[in-house]
Subunit: 295 residues, 2 copies
């Protein structure tokens, strides 16, 4: 399941409660588009802001609405006991995979992170994806640690948070990782602005924020990259450059949530308080900037 | 209540559950020593790792064991609705103050942080202390934002996470802040290694990790600093320099938890999984290094 386009939808909220109708519609659109997997309750799905009960309810809805497309859900928490409870819940709800970032309050050491994944892997029965995103989790993985973790039983994929901007260096990092990680563990790219580069550098899967709202365009880009069509990949990605500028400036969540509000896919405001979507002129400009993906 | 020595005790855990007997004994020792306030469930009290139910139970125990010494407790969460529930719980448990760090999953903007504190201040009836600690919360306060927040109703204190190492610059920052914050809002220092410098620079209160385990020594240091006895303050602080070295290298929580285990105040391991206390030679050296405070 950890190849191709993995689409990460929003979990739209209304006053702190999940807007179930809008959430289900987002998932159904992803299934209809034929994405390879759905990362319900990723960072874009605001998992970190939801209660255990909300996460369980949303996961059940997602699995049902996905109509057979594999769903994975994030079990991240700073509380290790809670991680195990969330893993249990998610598996009961029928997920095909789990996603885990090592959320920090106190900065974790590499050894502590290894112990955490080791314990979680010992207690789950669906594959796990390592969620590498220092900006949200507060932890920086080394490639050495990623390789060590890949050998744990049940490991399915690594969602990279960063690749070098230089294409040769990016390719070297991905090639080196792929040669060292345990067999069957795929390498994925996240951080949408660098994802075309990541796929061209050899990543197997795009863990995609934009794909959670605009799966058709992102599928075209992913498939072009994976079949080695550099020109078409660049053409599709270049058209998104103004949008990536917004992602870099405001964070992908605020931007995609604003686009979802602007296009009527969710009611405004849809983010967990106090997170705000864009306002004023920036909101208007964004409306124009995201036109290519709507075509 | 936000002056003098505010002692932050550990919340010792046994397999994820609070060791109530050991926790109560820590609080009773602080009350007996005559600390000015107790920051139960601060970062040192592992609040971020506990469930709402555990936080409520621990707060009730702390207020009872504190025997009249004002207790404050942290209501931090990335989930704003949960913050309000935690504030309610803490007030029902009888706290005299609340402590709030703007915990981030997605990085917060200054405007979002302002909205968060504004909303919380509108719904609480005991004073609030702003908890500035970028390393754990993921948010960097500017002095401009701290000053704006200080004017919110019910604001009681600002717990600074950082002061410049240069004494003149430290003094300039604290003096400037004190002249700008709303009347009655005190300025406190945290990060034990810089706390003597913070008090000498004009801070009103030491929010102290070490004071949670060794209140007598920390009271002597605080009182020396607050009466302007620079020489005695430096003498007491210099004796702790080897201990501060451990704080800098391993983080204050791992170090103070190791010391508590070594001195039999808590059972080992006392930290929330996967956080580890020190082992091997470092643990032995630490045992020697913390002797001055035990005298």
């Amino acid at each position: 399941m950890f190849t191709g386009l993995s689409a990460f939808p929003l979990t739209p909220l209304v006053k702190g409660e999940i807007d179930e109708k809008a959430f289900v519609a987002l998932i159904e659109a992803l299934a209809a588009a034929g994405v390879n997997s759905i990362g319900a309750l990723g960072s874009t799905g605001s998992y970190a802001y939801l209660t255990r009960e909300q996460r369980f309810a949303a996961t059940r809805l997602a699995v049902s609405a996905a109509a057979g497309v594999p769903v994975m859900t994030s079990i991240g928490s700073v509380n290790a006991e809670e991680i195990l409870r969330l893993a249990d819940d998610a598996q009961k709800a029928g997920v095909s995979g789990l996603l885990l970032a090592p959320l920090c309050y106190q900065k974790l050491t590499a050894e502590e992170v290894f112990r955490l994944y080791e314990r979680v892997c010992g207690e789950i029965s669906v594959p796990l994806c390592i969620y590498d995103n220092p900006a949200t989790s507060g932890f920086d993985f080394t490639d050495e640690l990623l390789v060590a973790l890949s050998a744990l039983p049940g490991m399915g994929s690594i969602k990279l948070g960063y690749i070098p901007a230089d294409p040769a260096e990016a390719s070297a990092r991905v090639t080196a990782l792929k040669s060292q990680v345990a067999e069957g563990v795929t390498i994925g790219i996240s951080g949408d602005a660098q994802s075309a580069a990541g796929l061209l550098a050899g990543c197997d899967v795009w863990y995609s924020v934009l794909g959670g709202l605009f799966p058709d365009y992102c599928l075209r880009l992913t498939q072009a990259a994976l079949r080695g069509d550099v020109e078409e990949t660049r053409r599709l990605n270049d058209a998104l450059e103004p949008l990536w500028g917004f992602f870099r400036r405001y964070g992908s969540l605020r931007v995609i949530a604003t686009v979802a509000e602007l296009t009527g896919r969710v009611a405004a405001p849809c983010l967990p308080f106090p997170l705000q979507t864009l306002v004023g002129e920036e909101r208007e400009v964004l409306g124009q900037v995201c036109r290519p993906v709507q075509a």
